[in-house]
Point group: C2
Chain length 395, copies 2
C-alpha cells in the first residue's frame, strides 16, 4: 500500500547525482579535487556581505516575507544592469528572481514544457538543466558543440527534418562542462531561428562576467525577446546568498510567479537586500569581480600549462578564456571512467566526460575545475593525474 | 507555435492566488488588514539575527553551496529539538531542511503523489498545501473539521468506502484558517490509521510553538513513522530566513533530496547557520518565543472581545488558544464575499471563508489575522467591520 512506484521512480533517476556522490568522496583531505564546480570561498567578500546584512537588518522589510518575483529594490538594480548588458531597456517586470539559477531552470521547465515536448540541449550538457527538463518528461535532443559553442548548423538541420523544439537551452559563455562560448554570429542566428520557429531560448549565463581577457559578447537575449536569460550572484558574489534571476517577457514572468507560489512562495528578503546593495555599488562590484577574474585567470593558466607539460600531444584541451573549467579530450583512447579510481588513489579527483553525455559518449574526456586550488596545488594535481594515467597505461 | 497550452493552464489556476492579490490591495495605508497571515516583523529578533550573521560570516562555509539536505550543524540542532518534541530519538538523517514549509509541501507532493492519487485535506484547507497537491494532479478529498480538528470519524467512513489515500494532510496545531487543533485522542487514531492503511500523514505544524496558555500536545509524528512532520522558523524567528524542515523516514528524505537537486540544488548556508545558532541557544529561544506568545495572546484576546462586543450572537467564533488566526461564522446569512468590498470601503480587510473552501462553501465565514496590529488598531478594525456589516444588512 506504500506509494512505491513514485518513490522508486525518483530513486531510480540517480545518475544525475553521480557527481554529487563523487564530491562526497573527494571531500577527503588527502585528495585534491578538480571535480567540483564551486567558486573559491576565499574570494567571497565576506566582510562586505556582513556589513550589508547588518544594514538590511536595520529595517523591518528584511525579515518579512517578500514578493514572489523578488524584493522590488533588487529587481530594479537587476533591470538596470540587464539593460546595459542587453543594450536595450529591460523593465522591472521582465526580471524575476529565483533561488539560484537552478530554480529558474526548474520553474521554467514547469511553465514552458509539456510532457513529450522537444527540448534541445548541448552535448556535453549542463546536468542541472537536464535534471529539470527530465523532471517534466521532455524529449531531449542533444546537439554537438565546437570551438564556437553550440552548432547552430546542427540545429538548422534538426529543424529542417520537421522537429519543432519548445525550448533550446544553451550555456552561452564559458560552458559547463565544455568550456566554450557561443560566437556572436551564432547568437544572432540562434535568436533569429527562435523567432522564425517560435521556440524559446533559455540562455543560461552564470559565468559571463568571469571573462579573463576581453568582456563576453552581448547575450543572445540582446537579439530577441524569445530568449529567457538566466544569471546568478553565485559565481560573482556568493553561492550561499542563493540569488539568481531570469529576464523574460512579462507574461512568462507572471506564469513563473504562479508556479513559484506553490514551489516555495518567495525568496529571502534578507539575502536579496544584501545582493541588491552589492550590485548597486557599481564601482565596488567591478573592482571585486576584477579580483575574481585575475585569480581565476592565473589558476587557469597554471593548470593549462601543467596539463600541456605533463600530457603534451596525448590530449586536446579547450582554450580557457573565462569561467571555471577546462575540458580535456584524451587522444590515446584513455577511458576516463577507468582513470578515475587510479586518480583518486593518486590523490586527485576530476569528473569523467561521460557524466555530462546525453546518452553515451565522452568516455575519453574529463572536466577539470581550477577555481578552488592555488598554483602549486594545481601543479601537484596534474602531476598526480599524470601518474594515474601512466598506471592505467601499464595496467 | 508558442507553447500556449501549458502557459495557459498555469495562468488559469489563478484562484489560489486570490488572497495574494487581495493583499496587494490591502497594502493601502488607510486599510487595516486582518487579511494577512504574516508574523509581526517588530517581534523578529533583528539584532540577534545580525549578530549571528556576522558570526557565521567569520567562516568560509557560510558563503559556499551547502549540502542539499541542509547544513549539517542545523540538522543536528533540529534533530535534537524534534527528539524532545516527539519523545523519541530523531536522527540527523531523518531531518531535511527546506526553503520554508511551502517547499516541503511541494517536494513531498512530487515524491509521494502520482497523478490521480487520493490526497485527503481538511475543509477549510490550507491553500499552500492545495496548490502543491493540485500541481501534481492529485485527487483531492476534503473532510470536515470540528472543535477537535480534522474529523477522524469522517476519515474512517471514507476508508470504509474503499478509498485508499496516499496522503492525509493536517495542520495539527492552530489550523490556518480554521484556528483549531487536533485533539490527542485523534492524533493517536490518525497515526494508527496511517499504519493500518499505509498512507502518509503530512503533519503541517508551523504554529505549534505559538501556544497561549498550555503547550501543544505531542505531534502526530510521535505516534508513527508514517507521519512526516513539517515545521519552520518563519513564525518563531523570521520568514526571511526561509528555513523550514521536515522530519521523515530516511528513505523519504533521500527521495526528497533527489527532487530538490533539480528544484534548486540547496538552501542558503548563511541563513541556515543563523537559524542553527538561534535554535541552539535554548534559553534565549524560549524567552524569545515567550515574548511572541504573550504579544499574540494579548492581541487575540482584544480581537475576540471586540468581535463578541460588536457582533454578539450574530456570529460564532473559534476559541483562539494559539497561532495567528480567528475563524468566524456569521449566523445571520451574511455573505462574506459581499461584505468584503464594503469592509474595504470602511477601511478593513479580511479573507472570506470561500477562499479556503475545497469546492463551494464557507460563504458565511471569514478568517481574521491578529498578529500585525496592536490592541487599539484591532478594536478600530472590528468597529469598521461592524459598520460594513450594518451597511450590507441595509443594502
Amino acid at each position: 500500500m506504500h506509494p512505491a512506484p513514485q518513490l522508486a521512480r525518483r530513486l531510480d533517476s540517480l545518475r544525475s547525482s553521480a557527481i554529487r556522490d563523487l564530491l562526497t568522496v573527494t571531500a577527503r583531505a588527502d585528495i585534491i579535487s578538480l571535480a567540483g564546480g564551486l567558486p573559491d570561498p576565499e574570494l567571497v567578500p565576506r566582510a562586505r556581505i556582513a556589513a550589508a546584512a547588518v544594514d538590511a537588518l536595520g529595517g523591518l522589510s528584511a525579515v518579512q516575507y517578500t514578493e514572489t518575483p523578488g524584493w522590488a529594490g533588487l529587481r530594479e538594480v537587476l533591470a538596470a544592469r540587464n539593460s546595459v548588458q542587453c543594450g536595450r531597456p529591460v523593465g522591472v517586470n521582465e526580471i524575476f528572481t529565483t533561488h539560484g539559477s537552478q530554480q529558474a531552470l526548474s520553474l521554467l521547465a514547469q511553465v514552458l514544457i509539456d510532457p513529450g515536448a522537444v527540448v534541445v540541449v548541448e552535448n556535453p550538457a549542463y546536468i542541472g538543466a537536464l535534471q529539470s527538463f527530465r523532471a517534466v518528461d521532455a524529449k531531449i535532443e542533444a546537439l554537438p558543440m565546437d570551438a564556437d559553442g553550440l552548432s547552430v548548423d546542427a540545429l538548422e538541420e534538426l529543424l529542417a527534418t520537421g522537429v519543432r523544439p519548445t525550448v533550446v537551452h544553451t550555456v552561452s559563455n564559458f560552458h559547463n562542462p565544455a568550456s566554450r562560448s557561443l560566437s556572436t554570429d551564432r547568437r544572432i542566428r540562434l535568436a533569429a531561428l527562435a523567432e522564425q520557429f517560435g521556440f524559446w531560448v533559455i540562455e543560461d549565463d552564470p559565468y559571463g562576467e568571469i571573462w579573463f581577457d576581453e568582456p563576453s559578447p552581448r547575450p543572445v537575449a540582446a537579439y530577441s525577446d524569445r530568449v529567457i536569460r538566466l544569471s546568478s550572484a553565485s559565481k560573482i558574489i556568493a553561492p550561499a546568498l542563493r540569488t539568481g534571476w531570469l529576464q523574460a517577457p512579462e507574461h512568462v514572468c507572471r506564469a513563473v510567479e504562479l508556479v513559484r507560489q506553490g514551489a516555495d512562495l518567495c525568496g529571502s528578503a534578507l539575502t536579496q537586500q544584501i545582493v541588491a546593495e552589492l550590485i548597486a555599488d557599481d564601482r565596488w562590484l567591478e573592482h571585486h569581480i576584477d579580483g575574481v577574474r585575475a585569480a581565476y585567470r592565473e589558476r587557469a593558466e597554471i593548470l593549462c600549462a601543467a596539463v600541456d607539460q605533463e600530457f603534451g600531444d596525448v590530449i586536446e584541451r579547450t582554450d580557457v578564456t573565462g569561467g571555471m573549467f577546462c575540458w580535456i579530450d584524451f587522444l590515446d583512447g584513455t577511458d576516463t571512467q577507468k582513470l578515475l579510481p587510479l586518480a583518486l588513489q593518486a590523490g586527485v579527483a576530476f569528473v569523467p566526460g561521460s557524466a555530462f553525455a546525453v546518452g553515451d559518449g565522452y568516455q575519453n574526456s574529463m572536466r577539470l575545475c581550477f577555481t578552488t586550488s592555488d598554483g602549486p596545488v594545481l601543479e601537484a594535481a596534474v602531476t598526480r593525474l599524470a601518474r594515474a594515467h601512466e598506471e592505467l597505461a601499464l595496467a
